[in-house]
């Protein structure tokens, strides 16, 4: 009983790490440009596709392919910002969010075209290997898939490096200044446009990495899997749309919720139907928003007259 729960929790944290990574990619873009980028699923699936092509068709080592894919998607993302988002500066948030919805469709169709309606694999370093943490009488009682551990490790390393870089470096300081107040940043000689490009590039790169990690459990990917990125949306809202810490916490929580739901819901509440774990995060999000309309760590908008 306890063992099954622990296994579910471990798996949930593994998936949660990826959600956290994707949610952080949303926050990066939101903080810099004030846009909730609905096109993120498109960037994610693009990253997975590039990795797949490089590993399966070109035979590159997995990690080299991942780095190349992340860079490629970062460049695409930067281009997208330049072409579609830059002209929207100063327009209502709603319009800019809608622009990204338009981009989402374009990227999704592009993904369908690239995948040609077939499923692909990405070579992955973990496959379905697992460690046995607690031996049971007949089989393993508590097991940990390597890919779950790997997801947590990669996410932890990437987010730590990102956090340090944002906190300590000159460019990181400039980015934070831009997200606080664009005009003041401009007055201090910061090239705000470049900061926009940079945050979109980082956001796109992280999304691509998230996509690769999502797919890195020995399963196959198809274009439709882009919609998995939408699971990061409740995580993002749960944590608060503009908080890095919130994105990480929200991601882990949503991973746990969906992991535990996957194990227990079919047994205890089968009437909720198959694939309930995919919508459980939304249920949690709605419940949390009832209590805290700005999420757990989100900035509460000050109402001044």
């Amino acid at each position: 009983m306890m063992a099954a729960f622990l296994t579910a929790v471990l798996a949930g944290i593994g998936d949660g790490a990826v959600y956290a990574l994707i949610a952080v990619s949303f926050v990066l873009i939101y903080r810099a440009t004030g846009v909730l980028n609905f096109a993120q699923p498109g960037l994610l699936i693009l990253g997975t596709w590039v990795t797949s092509v490089l590993v399966v068709d070109r035979g590159l080592p997995f990690w080299v392919a991942v780095v190349l894919a992340v860079v490629a998607v970062a460049v695409v993302s930067m281009g997208v910002e330049r072409v579609a988002i830059r002209p929207m500066i100063g327009r209502p948030v709603f319009s800019t969010a809608l622009v990204t919805v338009g981009l989402f469709i374009v990227l999704l169709v592009l993904a369908f075209r690239l995948f040609a309606a077939r499923a692909r694999t990405i070579g992955d370093p973990w496959q379905l290997e697992r460690w046995c943490l607690v031996e049971g009488e007949v089989t393993c009682a508590v097991s940990l898939y390597q890919h779950h551990a790997g997801k947590v490790a990669v996410t932890a390393v990437v987010l730590t490096v990102l956090g340090l870089w944002l906190g300590r470096s000159r460019i990181g300081l400039a980015m934070r200044a831009t997200s606080l107040d664009q005009e003041a940043a401009m007055a201090q000689g910061i090239n705000v446009g470049r900061m926009f490009s940079l945050s979109w590039a980082l956001g796109g790169g992280l999304a691509a990495l998230g996509g690769v990690l999502l797919a890195a459990d020995g399963s196959v990917v198809q274009a439709n899997d882009a919609l998995f990125a939408l699971v990061a949306l409740p995580a993002l809202i749960l944590g608060g749309i503009d908080s890095f810490r919130g994105a990480v916490v929200g991601g882990i929580v949503m991973g746990l919720v969906s992991g535990v739901a996957r194990v227990y819901q079919p047994v205890h509440a089968p009437w909720l139907g198959p694939n309930f774990e995919n919508v459980a995060p939304y249920l949690v999000m709605i419940l949390v928003l009832l209590v805290r309309p700005y999420g757990l760590f989100g900035t509460k908008e000050v109402q001044r007259v």
Binding site: L36, A84, P87, M88, R91, V93, F94, S95, T96, A97, L98, V99, V101, G102, L103, F104, I105, V106, L108, V109, L110, F112, R113, A116, A117, L227, L230, L233, P234, L236, I237, I241, W271, L272, G273, N275, F276, N278, V279, Y282, L283, M285, I286, L289, L290, P293, Y294, G295, E301, Q303, R304, V305
Partner: protein
């Protein structure tokens, strides 16, 4: 306002002709055109002289003629067009109803919603249960379509009322994701509730088209005109669209409509001015849900069979595209947008033979379906960047060109 006695008022106006604006409070606001002496009107025959005339539904002769022309064209169209084109136009009319609903919420009241298809589904299933045929598992009471349409507005409207308090607490992008959650949860519920929806991947038929006791699957003769099923359905859709469209325009220029706009532009400022935020947002939500419900019911009737998977995020994006491409916060724009979005695939099909890079099968550079979606996304982006007022904005430019001619810039 009580009207002043005749002669005194006339004299006052005669004196005030030189300073019309300063005297305008002596004009009767109740009559359609206030009484302005001929001399003041000279050279300005269409001068608005009352608030009512200025805010009238069709306040210029051009608008009156255009409306008449469009209504006539819409009524004649099904008798001139082929069966499938008529069907397509009916779908466009239905999507326009849903689009108007979304425009009331998103365009006028500024509440971003991605959950509109959820309410369409509610309307479709309400209609299907009330007026649909019962199947082996699905419910159906086989009542009249008129009752089904009313209930298809009431039930989603009521659910909208229930959801609204939650939606009024959160704003902007939070609301967008919240309504997306509503859509996802709704899809899950609809997939499970087979007695209502026929179940995942199976689906069920919509309401039976029996309107006021007349079975619309039969052909009727009205005078010299023959009304085959597709034409009568089209006429039902168009009449409903006209009624609901006029209702929405009236709402938009009423007290509530102005409250919507105030909330959209700056909700805190609106609240200070005495607009009841909760009431306004709730009204917007409930109304738009009711519109969506009617549209959903008709959509299911037209399409014939709807599966729970159909009410997904892509449909939400289609509806947003109708609002954005047509023109945010315009009703006539929404009609244009719906026609555009629904007819675009057909247009591309016609053009396909002349587009060398489009293939009809697999292989080739791009399929029609993909081209259509890409065009869709690109158009949303382009319209928002270049012409935020959409197709209506383009029309507006043309209109301004002619009204200001020869002084057009």
């Amino acid at each position: 306002m009580t009207s002043a006695t005749g002669t005194g008022e006339d004299r006052a106006q005669a004196r005030g002709t030189a300073r019309l604006t300063g005297r305008s409070r002596t004009l009767r606001s109740g009559t359609r055109r206030g009484r302005v002496p001929r001399s003041a009107r000279r050279g300005r025959p269409r001068l608005y002289t009352s608030y009512d005339a200025d805010s009238a539904l069709l306040n210029t002769p051009a608008k009156r003629w255009w409306t008449l022309a469009v209504v006539l064209l819409a009524l004649v169209a099904p008798f001139l067009l082929s069966r499938d084109l008529t069907h397509l136009l009916s779908v466009a009319a239905v999507m326009a109803i849903a689009g108007i609903g979304l425009n009331l919420l998103t365009g006028y009241a500024g509440q971003i919603s991605l959950g509109h298809p959820f309410f369409m589904a509610l309307g479709a299933y309400t209609g299907a249960v009330v007026a649909g045929a019962p199947g082996s598992i699905v419910l159906g009471w086989e009542l009249d379509l008129s009752l089904a349409l009313v209930l298809a507005a009431v039930v989603p409207g009521a659910i909208g009322l229930l959801v609204a308090p939650l939606a009024t607490r959160v704003r902007g992008l939070y609301l967008a994701v919240l309504t997306l959650g509503l859509l996802m949860l709704g899809e899950q519920v609809f997939k499970q509730w087979a007695a209502l929806t026929g179940g995942s991947g199976v689906g069920r038929a919509g309401a039976l088209p029996v309107l006021f006791g007349n079975d619309l699957t039969r052909t009727y003769a009205v005078g010299p005109l023959l009304l085959p099923p597709h034409v009568s359905l089209y006429l039902v859709c168009v009449v409903l669209l006209a009624g609901l469209g006029v209702a929405a325009r009236n709402l938009a220029r009423s007290r509530s409509g102005r409250a919507f706009a105030a909330v959209r532009d700056r909700d805190i400022a609106a609240e200070i001015m005495g607009v009841n935020l909760l009431r306004t947002k709730t009204l917007a939500f409930a109304l738009s849900s009711a519109y969506a419900g009617v549209a959903g019911c008709l959509y299911a009737v037209l399409i014939g069979r709807v599966a729970p998977e159909q009410w997904n995020i892509l449909m939400a994006i289609n509806l947003l595209a109708i609002v954005v491409i047509g023109g945010v916060a315009t009703i006539s724009g929404t009609l244009l947008g719906a026609a555009f979005v629904v007819l675009l695939p057909r247009l591309l099909e016609w053009l396909a033979p002349w587009l060398p890079f489009v293939s009809t099968g697999s292989g080739g550079l791009i399929t029609i379906f993909q081209l259509q979606s890409i065009l869709f996304g690109t158009l949303i982006v382009l319209f928002l960047i270049l012409e935020p007022r959409g197709l209506f904005g383009l029309w507006h430019r043309v209109r301004t060109y002619f009204t200001t001619w020869p002084f057009s810039y």
